[in-house]
């Protein structure tokens, strides 16, 4: 067991800021998915969007140790912002994603000072409340949000003025892929900057970070705002690619789903969110086809088994595997 930990550590020592095999493999596999499963493009697009959302939560939870139980607030706000913009006559996709990100980031910034002040269970409560507040607000304003029937009439203009959003979801897939990949690169940069390193320091030893001249409150506020912005952009992508926004985008279930995706994939790895989302959405697709009512039961069972066996999530398990294969090929 300790050998395993050492191996894990060694890999991460060597390949800290460099790309790991898993990261490269994921982005290649995601692109290959387009050609391998042309009938499943809608599902693949949802995996990318779900992954982006889970990654935004990873910045908070995996790196900063800040658990959010209401992250769907930012996802849903981004979705409604982008949806409303398009429904009211501005269907340009890229500016719509930015608008969704700005709206969610603005809300994140507004709440970030509260988040920076509280710790532990209080963080859970505050984030949970942000989620509940937004959900209630949206359901009480059907004139704006469409209420239970959802926001409709989203009319997207062609991407870059060239690519129509087609019925098969081809444009939607590559659009989501590109946005998710760019935001992944940005998040990676952030994590390896002194700014992101300080976030890890906060998770590890909150009280000892200020001695290095770093304000913990400021770092947490920045992290929360960045995370909310990315979550909002993920929501905007969903609104634009599905051309409907349901109340469900703001729901507690969506917040929890992101937490599950992240834990399954592997906390504090960035790519874990994407791998977890792909697994979760694929499992939901398969299990709900087997039994549409009780699929959550099987999911719960699988999750418990996963938690007991693979604590580093799928990324942890895959890292061990690739390391093992590399050693087989080049024996020392």
């Amino acid at each position: 067991m300790s050998d395993i930990t050492l191996d894990l550590a060694r890999i991460m020592v060597v390949n800290r800021a460099r790309w790991t095999t898993i990261e490269v493999a994921f982005w290649i596999a995601a692109a290959a998915g387009y050609f391998l499963f042309p009938a499943k493009l809608v599902l693949l697009t949802q995996m990318l969007i779900g992954g982006l959302f889970a990654m935004s939560l990873d910045l908070l939870l995996g790196y900063g140790g800040i658990a959010s139980f209401g992250h769907a607030a930012f996802f849903g706000l981004g979705a409604y912002a982008a949806g409303l913009l398009a429904a009211h006559g501005w269907g340009e996709p890229l500016s719509g994603v930015l608008f969704g990100g700005l709206a969610a980031g603005g809300l994140g910034l507004a709440f970030s000072s509260v988040i920076a002040k509280v710790r532990g269970a209080a963080v859970l409560m505050v984030t949970l409340c942000i989620g509940l507040l937004l959900f209630e607000a949206a359901s009480r304003m059907p004139w704006l949000t469409g209420g239970d029937t959802g926001l409709q009439g989203i009319d997207m203009w062609p991407l870059l003025g060239l690519f129509e959003f087609d019925l098969f979801g081809r444009t939607a897939f590559w659009y989501a892929y590109a946005v998710a990949f760019l935001l992944y690169l940005a998040a990676r940069r952030y994590i390896h900057s002194p700014e992101g390193l300080a976030l890890k320091g906060i998770r590890e030893n909150h009280d000892r970070v200020p001695m290095l001249g770093v304000s913990t409150a400021r770092r947490k506020m920045i992290a929360f705002t960045i995370s909310a912005t990315i979550a909002g952009m993920a929501g905007a992508l969903l609104a634009q690619t599905t051309q409907i926004v349901a109340l469900e985008t703001l729901s507690f279930e969506r917040s929890v789903a992101a937490l599950i995706m992240l834990t399954v994939g592997g906390l504090g790895t960035l790519i874990g969110g994407f791998i977890g989302a792909a697994t979760f959405i694929w499992a939901r697709d398969v299990l709900s086809a087997l039994n549409p009512v009780y699929w959550m039961f099987w999911l719960g069972l699988i999750l418990i088994a996963l938690m007991l066996t693979a604590r580093g999530g799928l990324v942890g398990a895959l890292t061990l595997l690739t390391n093992y294969l590399a050693r087989e090929r080049h024996p020392r």
Binding site: V13, G201, M211, V214
Partner: protein, 247 residues
């Protein structure tokens, strides 16, 4: 207020009658001291005498109950710790407190602020750290962790360095190595130092001035030479600690 130091020297840190403590209890009573720019001070005393408590108050992790602390002429009594660090107070805490999930290099990069002390210069001072730059904080020996803790304080480019038992728990050979580096840093720089050390001999050899604390009170202060010669006071207030074996 200062009973030592030449009158022309510019004061860097001025502590006036501070009381510091935890919860209800007061640990340091009515303590005053001054350190001039580039000066050095050893804090001596038994466990629980209030040495670390005083350092915590200077670094900003404990708020004094009364009194004032000035740094570079500015009142910092209520200033939060991260701003004190940016003003030039670097702290090497007891027990090192290296960040385990970060590599050596990352531990340094978090702290780095523009100035004379760069990562490269720290690697020059501690070549061991350069070898281990990719290791995580918990994959280091005690001595390496201590070097990292010192290096991490140095790259914040402090004007005042607080060292809390930097030789604690190190094997004698390693302790000598670290002690030599500390001596180098403090003697070649215009950096002021406050040093807590159980090895009274090392502390008195390094710092120009010393204070002996007992139960939170400064019972003796003066030039290190004078205190080193006063074996009775050392024995009474510090306990018999043989000076660190001759290097």
């Amino acid at each position: 207020m200062s009973i030592w130091g030449s009158p022309v020297a510019e004061p860097l840190l001025e502590i006036e009658n501070i009381d510091v403590g935890y919860g209800e209890g007061v640990v340091v009573h009515d303590l005053s001291l001054t350190i001039e720019v580039g000066g050095s001070l050893a804090l001596l005393g038994r466990n629980g005498a209030g040495k670390s408590t005083l350092i915590l108050a200077i670094a900003g992790h404990l708020a004094p109950r009364g009194g004032r602390i000035r740094f570079g002429g500015q009142d910092i009594t209520t200033m939060p710790p991260h701003r004190r660090c940016r003003m030039g107070i670097g702290w090497v805490p007891q027990g090192r407190e290296v960040f385990a999930p970060l590599t050596v290099e990352e531990n340094l990069r978090i702290a780095a602020a523009p100035g004379a002390w760069t990562l490269d210069r720290v690697y020059e001072l501690f070549p061991k750290l350069k070898e281990r730059r990719g290791n995580f904080g918990n994959q280091l020996s005690g001595g390496e962790q201590q070097m990292l803790a010192i290096g991490r304080a140095l790259v914040t480019n402090p004007r005042l360095l607080l060292l809390d038992e930097p030789l604690e728990g190190l094997a004698p050979v390693v302790a000598q190595d670290v002690a030599r580096c500390i001596t180098d840093i403090t003697q070649s720089e215009s950096m002021a130092v406050v040093l807590i050390e159980q090895h009274a001999g090392f502390a008195l050899g390094l710092a120009r001035h010393a204070i002996i604390l007992e139960r939170g009170l400064a019972v003796r202060s003066g030039a290190s030479g004078a205190i080193a010669a006063d074996l009775d006071a050392l024995e009474q207030h510090v306990g018999i600690r043989k000076p660190v074996r001759a290097a």
